[in-house]
């Protein structure tokens, strides 16, 4: 297990500006953490730092005592805009299974699981937004991650696609995968979250269990956000 996660005084600087400004938080071994906050508050950068794709300017991140870079392979990140290979749907999964030394017979089951079995031989880049995102999820699951990082995977998808993706994620979570999920969709957060980490301008405005967050948010920023008021 690479959990729990401990983040201490995390700073990320671009030039003079601190885009992440001293984050400290802990995440336990199971469940689904939703990261929320206005645009530009640093959610995507935080996910990349947790995943080991970027190096912090200060502070530290430890996954069960290990640096993110050493555990990248034990996590999977689904980007907001999935980057799919210029190949068929099936070949996209085959590629990951082969690259990561996984059992290649799992491909069909994975595609069925995300509802893309009938699209296996189609060019991946002609999939609709929802289908593409499901393929990206299947690819992430193909690596058997212990932690699933999701960066607004349902933004700009129709309601049916959102439900489908939430179902797949819930299923993974039920099988013990730790989920860290960035979203702007308050309804989605309500449905999925065990706890909420609310970011504002590179700082943690609050980190509370879901029930408390939606019932009585402690920070003014979260209250405004939930009430649909503009927060910057």
């Amino acid at each position: 297990m690479i959990l729990p996660l401990a983040v201490r005084d995390l700073v990320l600087r671009f030039g003079q500006a601190n885009v992440l400004n001293g984050l400290s938080f802990d995440l336990g071994g199971s469940g689904c953490t939703m990261i929320m906050g206005p645009n530009g508050s640093g959610k995507s950068l935080l996910l990349k730092l947790l995943h080991g794709l970027m190096t912090p300017s200060g502070g530290r991140i430890e996954w069960g005592g290990r640096a993110p870079r050493d555990v990248t392979a034990r996590q999977a990140l689904v980007f907001q805009k999935p980057v799919l290979l210029r190949r068929s749907v099936a070949a996209n999964i085959d590629f990951v299974l082969r690259a990561r030394g996984k059992d290649r017979d799992r491909r069909d089951a994975l595609l069925e699981h995300v509802g893309l079995g009938h699209k296996a031989s189609q060019p991946a880049r002609l999939l609709s937004g929802g289908e593409a995102q499901r393929l990206a999820l299947a690819r992430a699951l193909a690596t058997d991650p212990e932690v699933l990082l999701l960066d607004e995977p349902t933004a700009s998808l129709d309601p049916a696609s959102v439900v489908a993706i939430e179902g797949i994620v819930a299923d993974a979570r039920a099988r013990g995968v730790r989920v860290i999920f960035v979203t702007h969709d308050i309804g989605q957060a309500r449905r999925m979250a065990d706890d909420v980490l609310f970011l504002q301008r590179g700082r943690i405005a609050e980190h509370t269990p879901a029930a408390a967050f939606f019932h009585a948010p402690q920070s003014q920023a979260a209250r405004d956000y939930l009430n649909g008021r503009i927060v910057v």
């Binding site: 794709l53 990248t72 990140l77 190949r87 990951v96 990561r100 060019p123 880049r125």
Partner: protein
């Protein structure tokens, strides 16, 4: 001009064996050179595309500059090496199709390297974060880039082939334009021009153009199929 077109048609329709021999040698030399140039140029292009190493900018500049290498200079360099009094003279390759293949390979390898570098770097910009997330090895990443860029690289190969099949400066020096041995389309055109038989020279030029059109059309149709599948 009209005379040349008539003559070109006559030559082709009569199945002139000398013409066939020259055309086939042109294709054999330039296609082989293209394949070899790809074997040399693609690894170099990939290396520079995804590598970050000191002196990379200098390599880039040199690579791009070498694209403009004059064929006669390449021919001369190869001649000096393959000449009996040169370091590789013992191989006895001067005035053989092999010498012509070597010269054209050296002529177009920089083109393949420089153009493929551009193609692969653009694709890498799109894929690199996803690849790092999937923890691909460098070799796996390059393999995937080469495969996904295959249709664009086909065009790169075509650019190299076009340059090879159209050049006269290098092959005439190292091949010697020997009848039935090293005479190709371009050297035959140069010869007929120097004999003042401009109509025949132009007729050969027209045939060369038609061959080039044919090769381009074939590649284009492959590319169009690929574009339809969003594989480009």
């Amino acid at each position: 001009m009209g005379e040349a077109v008539t003559l070109a048609l006559q030559l082709v329709l009569s199945g002139d064996p000398d013409l066939l021999e020259i055309v086939l040698l042109s294709l054999r030399v330039s296609l082989t050179a293209t394949v070899l140039a790809c074997l040399i140029g693609l690894p170099i292009g990939s290396l520079v595309a995804i590598g970050r190493f000191p002196g990379r900018n200098a390599v880039l500049i040199v690579m791009n500059a070498l694209m403009g290498l004059p064929p006669v200079v390449v021919g001369l360099l190869v001649y000096l090496h393959l000449s009996r009094s040169g370091p590789l003279g013992f191989l006895g390759l001067l005035y053989t199709p092999t010498a012509m293949i070597i010269a054209q390979t050296l002529l177009i390898a920089p083109i393949v390297a420089a153009l493929s570098r551009q193609v692969l770097e653009d694709l890498h910009a799109e894929y690199s974060e996803q690849f790092r997330s999937l923890c691909l090895t460098r070799v796996q990443a390059v393999e995937a880039l080469l495969w996904d860029a295959r249709y664009s690289l086909l065009t790169v190969g075509l650019a190299g082939f076009g340059r090879a099949v159209a050049e006269v400066g290098a092959v005439i020096i190292v091949g010697g334009n020997i009848d039935h041995l090293t005479r190709v389309m371009t050297t035959a055109i140069a010869l007929e021009t120097s004999k003042g038989d401009l109509a025949l020279a132009l007729a050969l030029g027209i045939i060369l153009l038609v061959i080039a059109l044919g090769v381009n059309a074939a590649v284009q149709s492959v590319r169009m199929t690929a574009t339809r599948q969003a594989y480009v």
